[in-house]
Symmetry: C2
Subunit: 164 residues, 2 copies
């Protein structure tokens, strides 16, 4: 584990998002920090995802995903969707977005994306999404940053000790 | 132009970075928000870049780039490196990093990357970089967020009015 490496990479600022995926009636959602805009025209976003996760298979089959932006008061929601447990969507209000991928009612902003390409990226896969729709639900809420979550996701244990 | 679309996409939180590129003794640096980590092992970062920019040609030829993280007091530096003018590195203290790409002395953190792949992404190109080295110069400084720069880069004029 390397807290020093985690501390360094935390200087690359990102938000905290719940990514929704669906393949037919099978749905899941998980917390992800590695999301950013990548194009203006067309509007596109990218997500770096661990291909070993069940949600990756759902994304590959369903070809759509949603990005639900969390606010500074929603660290519990980030923790909830960060667990590898099944059934995380039960008890959380959501509606189906593009391709049936879940849009969380509690999000401060929502984006609906269609798979538009991908490229392997080390231990992750970088998935490109064309934004089909999006909405700002509450302009007054402040997005949570990954930096504000501390070691919620245990990433310090994942970072290598050195650059080699 | 669409301020509403700009306001929506500002909810995807990112930092503000000066990207350094070099091809031999020809160097440049430019401000970019669209940077994120994409892999733990190996450590990788991605940058979305406009392929029409001169810096893209330098990056393609030089195969290296640096990421210099700016802090909340450095909005003027973000504006300086956001201009399309030549000679932006004159008068700014820097040292050559991997491949000769410039590392800014004033950055709060620096990353040196080697080109590791790319994929077209709408009007940009998503460039993957393997992180060869990096350092946290000042743990007490707070990274500037893109959201805090307002309409410094004039992006509201670039966003489409709708999702079509």
């Amino acid at each position: 584990m390397s807290q020093a490496m985690a501390d360094l990479f935390k200087r690359i600022t990102t938000g905290v998002h719940v990514i929704g995926v669906a393949d037919g009636e099978t749905r899941n959602a998980f917390t992800a920090a590695w999301v950013m805009q990548i194009s203006f025209r067309p509007l596109m976003l990218a997500l770096s995802i661990n291909p070993g996760h069940k949600s990756y298979a759902l994304l590959e089959d369903g070809r759509h995903f949603t990005i639900n932006v969390l606010d500074q008061q929603q660290i519990d929601l980030a923790a909830h969707f960060g667990e590898p447990a099944p059934g995380k969507l039960a008890g959380v209000a959501w509606t189906p977005g593009a391709g049936g991928a879940p849009l969380l009612d509690q999000a401060l902003a929502q984006f609906e994306c269609e798979w538009a390409g991908e490229i392997p990226a080390g231990d992750h896969v970088l998935v490109l999404g064309r934004v089909l729709n999006g909405r700002l639900l509450d302009p007054d809420r402040v997005p949570l940053t990954y930096q504000e979550t501390g070691n919620l996701d245990g990433a310090a244990a994942i970072y290598p000790e050195s650059f080699d």
